[in-house]
């Protein structure tokens, strides 16, 4: 599907649909689209509706404390910001962390990834595909047969089990409880699953809820507590002593490490027997819904993650790189320090730079708000009816890689890993595409299937599988290293600020659940002088730039037909496939208590 990627190619003459806020995401986001006479989206405008105070809160503070603050900026990305922050400080000060710390950070980071991906699919995204009200019509026996077919290895498959779930759902819906399923458009023909598949998905919603609370216990073991586990510049905030036999509060010992192993195995089983089969089953039924590609397949960026040999980025399990202009034959190298590569622009964002400044590398980043509306805005500053996207229209800045708008996230990581020759990823993707083609009778190639809303959702599930599988390796490597006599978990040589240079700058990177994440720090006289973060949703939710290049959210919505423009199921489906987190990319507060997003057609 050929998607226009420049504002100059977009047609904004049709009816304008405003979705505000976009629900079931972290943070506050608004989206406006124009639909033509056939209800096909021809122009899309996405905007973050608050600005973020993260960077400015950190000025003048102790760099060793930054992780604790950034952990609070948002409710879902806690650990990934904390990890990226300690990496930025370590980079600035030249601190190498011990191998145990390297492995424990991997285990914690992958735990977060697995947790986030599972909760995203079952508790935020599934309702874009699954109709829980329709599940009330399901035959529990037929559901049991479906479950056995979709995943023979999954134990919870008896008719009685599904009858119980259905009864529980019935009771819940009849009690008129608002909240969980209240915001749906349940009679919209965009929902296509048979009742049995809907019931199976509701059962897995509950199973996923049980699973997620187990997997996060790994954070409690290594990070002292959850929510908000502890991080440490120089290593990890736990001690190791395999001879110890104490319970909670004691150093990490064999009892707690075995506990960790069990949690990994549980999550791995769930991912292979439930999550992946569910995604493929949904994809099979929505086989004609291959919309939502946008920048995916065209411009993709990854900083790379899960470095196997500490300090050697060429050993990343998911490698760094950039693909531009749809050329999958060439993965370009990415350097987050190069001031020519990553720059942020504010031509369409509610900030201003000093006169004459165009793009700024984050080390020189500036966050000075400038809230002004373009002449074609409808409404007023306090009540915008329609944005003027030709002018400033978002609190999200526009980051660019060598001038290109980029998509980041699991799908970008996966396409880059695939074309970089990572065999594990190739096997996963090939296996999944073969299953999809077999289920549907289609013969889609990679480039037809992956750059889509479904492809984005599949990549997230595959990445969850990768994390579970390789956590077993990390766990074993940790045990081996400890048994070889290494108990060290932190390097404190440079803990004391008197050992630091007068000025230093560093960058911490990570591939967060939502994509490429970078924290750039400048330290002066032992204090934070400047701190800038470019979070994944800044990339994906980016507004236009001076050249008219549109961001990933905007591009992904184009050409999508809507069943009913007043019920934005299709918009939510595609935006949710990015797992947006506006709390980090903007600063968020919703203004009232409305649960239902307001959809206005003008």
């Amino acid at each position: 599907m050929n998607t226009p990627l420049n504002a100059s190619q977009l047609d904004n003459s049709g009816r304008r649909v405003v979705v505000d806020p976009v629900t079931r995401i972290e943070g506050h986001m608004r989206c406006e689209v124009n639909v033509d006479s056939n209800n096909i989206i021809r122009n899309a405008v996405s905007t973050g509706t608050m600005w973020r105070g993260l960077e400015v809160i950190l000025k003048g503070r102790d760099p060793r404390d930054a992780w604790a603050f950034v952990e609070r900026i948002c409710g879902v990305c806690t650990g990934t910001h904390a990890l990226t922050s300690v990496r930025a400080v370590e980079d600035a000060l030249g601190i190498q962390i011990p191998l145990n710390a390297h492995l424990i950070r991997h285990l914690m980071d992958k735990t977060l990834q697995v947790h986030d991906h599972i909760v995203h699919f079952y508790h935020l995204h599934a309702l874009d595909w699954v109709n829980p009200v329709n599940a009330l019509k399901a035959d529990p026996k037929a559901t049991s047969e479906l479950q056995k077919m979709v995943s023979p290895a999954h134990a919870k498959s008896s008719p009685g089990y599904f009858r119980d779930v259905q009864n529980r759902l019935k009771k819940f819906v009849q009690s008129g409880q608002l909240g969980l399923f209240a915001n749906g458009y349940w009679d919209n023909p965009a929902y296509k699953l048979p009742p049995e598949a809907d019931l199976m998905a509701v059962a897995h919603y509950l199973e996923a809820l049980d699973l997620q609370k187990e997997i996060v216990k790994i954070h409690t073991i290594f990070g002292g507590k959850n929510p908000h586990p502890n991080y440490l510049v120089g290593g990890v905030a736990c001690a190791i002593n395999l001879d110890d036999v104490g319970a909670s509060g004691a150093p990490v010992n064999m009892v707690s490490l075995n506990f960790v192993l069990q949690r990994i195995q549980e999550a791995r089983e769930f991912t292979k027997n439930v999550y992946l089969p569910d995604v493929l089953a949904v994809a099979g039924i929505y086989k004609d819904w291959l919309y939502g590609g946008g920048l995916a397949g065209q411009n993709m960026l990854s900083y790379g993650t899960y470095t196997q040999v500490p300090g050697d980025k060429s050993t990343d399990l998911l490698p760094a790189g950039a693909i531009v202009n749809g050329n999958w034959d060439e993965v370009l190298p990415v350097d987050v320090r190069d001031p020519e590569q990553i720059q942020e622009f504010v031509d369409h964002s509610w900030y201003s730079y000093a006169d004459g400044v165009k793009g700024l590398h984050p080390w020189d980043g500036d966050t000075s708000p400038n809230f002004e509306l373009g002449p074609n805005t409808k409404g007023t500053k306090t009540d915008i009816k329609e944005l003027d996207e030709a002018h400033k229209y978002s609190w999200i800045k526009a980051p660019r890689w060598r001038g290109h708008a980029m998509e980041v996230g699991p799908l970008s990581r996966y396409i880059i890993a695939y074309v970089s020759g990572k065999e594990y990823v190739q096997e996963q993707v090939d296996r999944s595409l073969a299953a999809f083609n077999q289920n549907t009778g289609l013969e889609l190639g990679l480039k037809q299937f992956l750059p889509s809303t479904l492809g984005r959702t599949l990549a997230r599930a595959l990445e969850c599988e990768l994390c579970c599988d390789t956590m077993l390796d990390d766990w074993q490597a940790l045990i081996n290293n400890i048994k070889a006599g290494d108990r060290s978990t932190a390097n404190v040589e440079k803990w004391d600020p008197s050992t630091w240079p007068k000025e230093a700058k560093g960058v911490g990177i990570n591939e967060a659940p939502r994509g490429a994440l970078g924290h750039w720090i400048k330290i002066k006289d032992g204090k934070i002088e400047n701190y800038q973060a470019i979070v994944p949703t800044t990339w994906n939710g980016s507004p236009r730039d001076a050249q008219g290049n549109i961001g990933a959210f905007e591009a992904s919505l184009l050409n999508t037909p809507m069943e009913r423009p007043e019920e934005p199921v299709e918009i939510l489906r595609t935006l949710h496939s990015f797992d947006p987190c506006l709390a980090c990319s903007t600063h968020v507060m919703s203004e009232d208590g409305q649960q239902m997003s307001q959809v206005k057609i003008r």
Partner: protein, 210 residues
């Protein structure tokens, strides 16, 4: 088995009065020692990720800053079935949708607490990034804490007052403890503190646009 009590503070401590809930549990922990069947939790803005803690308790007590449209600093006590309604009816920050959903999820999945108590305080200011509690809200920490202590005492549970008040929070990293958090705040001219006027009237931004 003893009843399980959960005392939960929710909100974002980076946004002025939004930090009220977290500061209340911090205060409780600094001044009292609790038996093992009482959990104190700084829930931040964790939303759905708090559901297992809710499911695991019999008695849930929540501190939060909630907009009831009352005078700033007004304390409001909500019980049982009214709690989810209040947490959804008029929310001004993202975690409150989250928490209403947490309660709904706990009901659907099983493990809804037998008793709920919400101690809410009307905030004065939220639009102050990196700021701390305003005086009228700060003055409600001790009264709010007393409400929870009385509520527990009615259920036969009286925590022991610590001989020495803790400096640290223990529930959060110490750099976030109220005193450290306030002392390390950057100057106003170094760091703009305000937000978007569509939600919050802000003289700073209105000035920019003239």
């Amino acid at each position: 088995m003893d009843k399980q009590f959960l005392i939960l503070g929710i909100g974002n401590l980076l946004w002025a009065d939004e930090g009220f809930g977290v500061r209340c549990v911090e205060y409780l922990n600094q001044h009292f020692e609790f038996p093992a069947n009482v959990e104190l939790l700084d829930g931040g803005t964790q939303g759905l990720y708090l559901v297992q803690h809710v499911q695991a308790c019999d008695v849930l007590m929540v501190f939060d800053a909630i907009d009831y449209g009352l005078e700033p600093g007004t304390m409001k006590i909500i019980r049982d079935d009214d709690v989810p309604k209040f947490m959804g009816a008029k929310k001004m920050s993202l975690h409150q949708t989250g928490f209403q959903e947490v309660l709904a999820t706990a009901e659907f999945a099983g493990g809804y607490p037998d008793e709920l108590l919400l101690v809410g305080v009307q905030p004065e200011a939220l639009e102050d990034f990196g700021g701390s509690l305003r005086d009228v809200v700060r003055a409600q920490i001790e009264p709010a804490v007393k409400v929870v202590l009385d509520f527990m005492a009615e259920r036969g549970l009286v925590p022991q007052r610590r001989e020495q008040v803790l400096d640290s929070t223990e529930l959060s990293p110490n750099q976030l403890a109220m005193a450290d958090y306030e002392a390390g705040r950057p100057a106003e001219d170094a760091a703009c503190r305000r937000g978007d006027i569509r939600f919050i009237p802000s003289t700073c931004l209105q000035g920019d646009s003239n």
